[in-house]
Amino acid sequence: MQVFDLTEDEKDVLQELMNVAYGNATAVVAEMLDAFASLSIPNIKVIQTDELLATFSELKSESYFFSTQAFNGEFKGESAFFINQTSANNLAKHLELESSEDLDDAILELTNVLTSTLTTKLSQEMDTEVSFSLPSLSKIPLQEIGKTSAFKHYSQVIVIDTDLNFQDQQIHGKIFILTKDESIQWLKTKLNSILELLI
């Protein structure tokens, strides 16, 4: 298996692109929730799936909702969004939701907004297009994530890990953008052509 790793420069560029995309995403979510949002600086790394599952398992201490959404195009992959029970409840309160189904829908919406704004912006910056599948909310308990086949398709992934904070509402989430080998290769090429333009 070929192991990809991002150089410092590539990481820098991606970090910059992500910051732009994140700014965009936060703005939209803030608008959607009508609240001020802040984002931690995204932490970008290429890791093996095993490590990813270990990261997920760190989240197990609390009860989490877990949703995923696939995106397709030259840059393709899946985003995984985690939001804990307390945050989800606050989200429900904020949106004045009545039933748990409405809450599920709201979480999916939040996932969709974050994923599409992030990836759309990112792909725009990289001069490509992406399309989105319907997001799905995982019904599987978090402790069984390691067993689900979904993540087995990824040998290594780019993890763009950030915390989303709507401080007034106390809504925290964690989003991971997972991409497969060929997308990582494509991304490296893209990042390098951007780098060349900058120099």
Binding site: V28, E31, M32, L95, E96, E101, D102, D104, D105, L108, E109, N112, V113, S116, T117, T120, F132, L134, P135, S136, L137
Partner: protein
Amino acid sequence: MAQNKTQQYIRTLDIDKKIVANIDNGIIVLNQELNIYHFNKWLELHTGIKEYEILDKKIDNIFDQINSKTLKRKIKTALRIQTPTFYTASTSKYLIPIKVNQLNNSSFEYMQQDVSIIPFDEEKGLVALILTDQTIMANTNALLEANMETIKKLNAELIKERDTIDKKVLVIKFDKTFCIVDISQALLELLSYNKEELLGKNFLYHEKNQMSQDFQMRLVESMKELQVLEFEESIFSAHGHKICFKSTLVPEYNANGTHIGFIIFRENTTDTKRLAQSQEKILASSRSAAMGEMVSMIAHQWRQPLSLINTIIATLKIKKELDKLDDEAINEAFTKIQTTTSYLSDTIDDFRDYFKPNKKSSEINILSLFDNSIFFLKEEMHQNDIEYKIQGEENISIYTYRNELLQSIINIIKNSIDAFTYSKSDTLNRQIIVHVQKLASHVTISIQDNAGGIEKDILKKVFEPYFSTKSKNGTGLGLHMCHTIITEHLKGNITMNSDNNTTTTLIELPYSILKGIK
């Protein structure tokens, strides 16, 4: 060119309109205030509402189930981020109520819909809602979920059962190459091994030291033939304890019926074995105790005839010295000596018979059996001033093991005699009375003495092994052996009762040991 012409022709058509009209999806165009701009043919057909009837009306007024706030939020978001937003069937079920009319979709009343809200015209704030029928998928999911529930339940049961088996059943599994693939916790604990120590080891090699060459051959033979084999084996645990098993070798097959290996189920028989061995020991020591008793009895029996012979010889000597020894006297003396020695010989035979356990049952007359046994004890009873009486019909015969019964009777009467001597009872008319009675299903023999009776809490224990009231002299095996012989060998019952001064031992015996007591 034909191809270009076709392409030109197609361009003259309003492709989108035609396709939108015929596509198998519902399409609605809305503005941010939820006013309807377009309602496609698919929706007309499914809802029975015509586009012209509802154009420019608010969709949430027409379908009042729609949550306007959520829909508005989604539309606003889609327009803002310029990518689709969604409703998914799995959480939102449906947006536009459309009755399901297919019979096989009976688990839902309304069509389950995925809805994509795509930005259509940013300037005018229009979006298009694309509805996809997901009923079949939702149905499949519901079915799957229901089945998953069943599977989960079954699986839980299975795991529980497996766990029980693992904890309770002694079982070892190995594959066709005799490589141990599984071993139950119960067996591991018994043998004091860790699973890791045994997994992957060769079964034959691991247990070979404890198997005879012959047996190994037989085992391998059965394995080759894929036969079920029941056998006894003993294995040394990791701590060196010998453990006996009754085992069953069973070939194991997978779900396709392919032979994959073997399972041995084991039953720990160590305790049973030990019990049988101790029973044998008890029997042996009771035999030797009885033997000792018999020797003293023989001595007793011989004393009188021997002194008779002595007397005859002495008389002969005197007559010879007095010169009065004639032929008649010699003949008379010889006849007497002959009778006496044959009596001595008979006594030996009788005792020898008594020690030989019968292999075959035979017809026994009970009264004459008592005569035989009393013959051994008469002298002792006489010395102790005990009167012996037997009552009952003369012709009572049963089919049983003669010597076993004889041994038991002697034991019981001997106990009664001992009771008189040990208790030092001052009963004037010392008596042992035997009463034999014929009943419909069996024969009863009661042996009663008036030697003072037995206390209740002692009475409970008289048939237990090594229980004796005779301190030094008793082995404590007599009555226990009687009990074993009568209940197990002779298929009868024995009970003991005591009342005031008397003790009664009641023996019940079947007419035939082959049939038992009905």
